[in-house]
């Protein structure tokens, strides 16, 4: 870890810990939601930005994690929070392996299309299987008590739940960041750039892709766990195509070129959604317009825009990085 990134992690951590002191209740609620969607988007970006796999089916993992959480809390009495996490992440991992080995046989647009079809399958099952998922009515739950080893933490207040989400999701996001810097993460990027060459070098590219797909699925499942706990409710909308496209919007608005882009995207998306839905019921139209304009004019997303603005303000010109490299 470089000194600069360690410093930014520490800074973010301190700000995150102090924020509940200054924010109002509803703002803290919104911040928790942002953190959950940031994790969902970070996992999606590893798939889209790092591996170049466009999926319209990420909600099947998110929704599965959300539903497994609700179902296990309702059916197992005195369920520990940690066991609940384990069950949800374990299930999404297994499903990720099964679905991944089927879908990853195809690439590009074919893969995109299949993820969409499978997400629809999951949605259809969730809607029809009324006795387990509650169908259109959804499931209401109570948050379990978290056993920290030395003490029991009740997470039924906004602040307590925020701290839980912030710390666990924070650790997982740092882990994701670490993952993209491991040999495995770098392999995936190289595979996106030139798969044949990686094959010649002796890498098992389909295995790497399956591991990556499963990993992102499990992370999205974890985001789903927190989604259910946050709203204390889950319905089929968690596993719907809308949820799958939401994460695409978030990730794309933030930018797929950087690791932190999707986190920025989650902030912008959730705040914009809250703001727009206050002034108009037609906010999805405006979100759609923003999305199209971004595809047309800022294909790199907000993070790309910020980076180039920073370059310009810093007095650097385009291509300056190459020149620095030569001087060094």
């Amino acid at each position: 870890m470089t000194r600069k990134s360690t410093l930014s992690f520490v800074l973010i951590f301190v700000v995150g810990v102090l924020l509940p002191l200054v924010l109002r209740r509803y703002q803290l609620n919104m911040l928790t939601e942002i953190i959950i969607f940031a994790l969902y988007a970070v996992s999606y970006n590893i798939l889209l930005g790092y591996a170049g796999l466009l999926s319209f089916g990420h909600a099947m993992f998110f929704g599965l994690g959300a539903f497994i959480t609700a179902i296990s809390i309702l059916h197992i009495s005195h369920l520990s929070f940690w066991i609940c996490l384990l069950i949800a992440v374990g299930t999404t991992t297994l499903v990720g392996v099964a679905i991944g080995s089927l879908l990853l046989r195809l690439k590009g647009a074919y893969f995109a299309l299949l993820t969409l079809a499978f997400n629809s399958l999951f949605y259809a099952v969730a809607t029809k299987w009324h006795s387990v998922t509650g169908g259109d009515d959804g499931l209401s739950i109570k948050r379990p008590v978290v056993n920290l080893g030395f003490t029991l933490l009740k997470i039924n207040t906004v602040t307590a739940f925020y701290y839980l989400a912030f710390i666990i999701i924070g650790i997982v996001i740092v882990f994701c960041w670490y993952f993209t810097h491991t040999a495995m993460g770098q392999t995936v990027i190289l595979m996106r750039e030139n798969e044949d060459r990686m094959k010649f070098l002796g890498y098992d590219t389909s295995l790497s892709r399956l591991i990556l797909f499963t990993f992102t699925g499990a992370i999205a499942g974890l985001a789903g766990v927190f989604y259910t706990l946050h709203f204390q409710f889950v319905s089929v909308s968690a596993i719907s195509l809308d949820m799958a496209t939401t994460v695409l919007l978030i990730t794309f608005v933030g930018g797929t070129g950087t690791f932190w882009g999707p986190i920025l995207g989650a902030f912008v998306y959730i705040i914009l959604q809250n703001y727009l839905s206050d002034i108009t019921d037609r906010w999805p139209v405006f979100m759609g317009l923003i999305f199209i304009l971004m595809v047309l004019f800022i294909p790199g997303g907000l993070s790309k825009m910020i980076l180039s603005a920073k370059d310009r303000l810093g007095g650097k010109r385009e291509g300056s990085e190459v020149m620095e490299g030569e001087n060094a």
């Binding site: 647009a109 074919y110 299309l113 079809a117 499978f118 629809s120 259809a124 809607t127």
Partner: protein, 286 residues
């Protein structure tokens, strides 16, 4: 026995509709390598335009002519002014663009016409029944199937009997070579995309009286049309035809035989085809 016949005919009607939607989708995909997510949204737009025209004039045939023309123009504009701009960024961006369009169209439809189903009623002989083996069957469903057959015949005739068809088939194989031979491929793309849009608009007009017109209709048929393309093989018109019939009948008999599983059946079929032959029944290249 009569049950089986009724469900068989229902299946044919839905197959006709599915073919009208998926043939345009597969044609655009084969030519331009663009998976058009907005295709079903254009179909929905056709249905809503038709609703408005029917509401104003009561002329079904009129909307059957006007809506495809309107959708042709919209399709041409989308290709010329939006898709072509992002073409340089690659397929991912083209896909995202059509996805964004679908999103906006769906929301705009909710805005303009309301987020509830609208009933489309047709009058006259199309509303009647016809006797088949002693069974009174609605003419309209047969009408849909006939259109499916007519369009598939017309497309086959164009593709295999005309000069345009030769160019189109060549462009599917290698559009750079066709471009080098002095044929205006960008204009060809605009034409094909607009034609696909017109076809889906046509399908939308026809679907209106059969299924009701509502904002979720696009997503519903989109997934079915995608399954048709996967099963039939990407870019293959013949495959789309066979797969439409297969899925149409499967949907119809699924409701009769396994009412609880009917939604899952087509995904099951798709998964089986994928495991056995990932490129689809009639697909050649991946």
């Amino acid at each position: 026995m009569s049950d089986v016949l009724v469900f068989f005919l229902h299946g044919l009607a839905y197959a006709g509709l599915l073919f009208l939607v998926s043939s345009g989708l597969t044609l655009v995909f084969g030519m331009m390598n663009v998976l058009n997510f907005a295709h079903a949204a254009l179909y929905m737009l056709g249905a809503y335009f038709s609703f408005t025209i029917l509401h104003a004039t009561g002329q079904f045939w009129l909307s059957l002519i006007i809506c495809p023309i309107a959708l042709f123009v919209i399709g041409a504009c989308v290709e010329r002014f939006l898709l072509r701009r992002v073409h340089v960024f690659g397929h991912l961006h083209e896909l995202l663009l059509t996805f964004g369009l679908a999103y906006i169209i769906t929301e705009a439809v909710k805005w303009l016409w309301g987020n509830y189903p609208l009933a489309v009623n047709i009058s006259g002989y199309l509303n009647g029944t016809v006797e088949i083996f002693g069974l009174a069957y609605p003419i309209y469903r047969i009408f849909i199937f006939v259109w499916g057959v007519l369009v598939s015949l017309a497309m086959a005739a164009i593709l295999f009997k005309t000069r345009l068809g030769v160019i189109l088939r060549a462009a599917v194989n290698d559009n750079e070579m066709v471009n080098a031979l002095g044929i205006n491929v960008p204009r060809l793309f605009t034409g094909v995309f607009a034609f696909g849009a017109a076809l889906s608009g046509f399908a939308g007009v026809i679907a209106g009286p059969l299924l009701s017109t509502y904002p979720g209709m696009a997503q519903e048929i989109l997934v079915d049309a995608f399954v048709v393309i996967v099963v039939g093989g990407f870019g293959s018109l013949g495959g789309a035809l066979i797969a439409s019939l297969l899925i149409g009948e499967l949907q119809s008999f699924g409701v009769l035989l396994f009412p609880k599983l009917s939604l899952v059946l087509i995904y099951l079929l798709m998964s089986i085809v994928l495991v056995i032959k990932p490129s689809g029944l009639f697909g050649e290249k991946q």
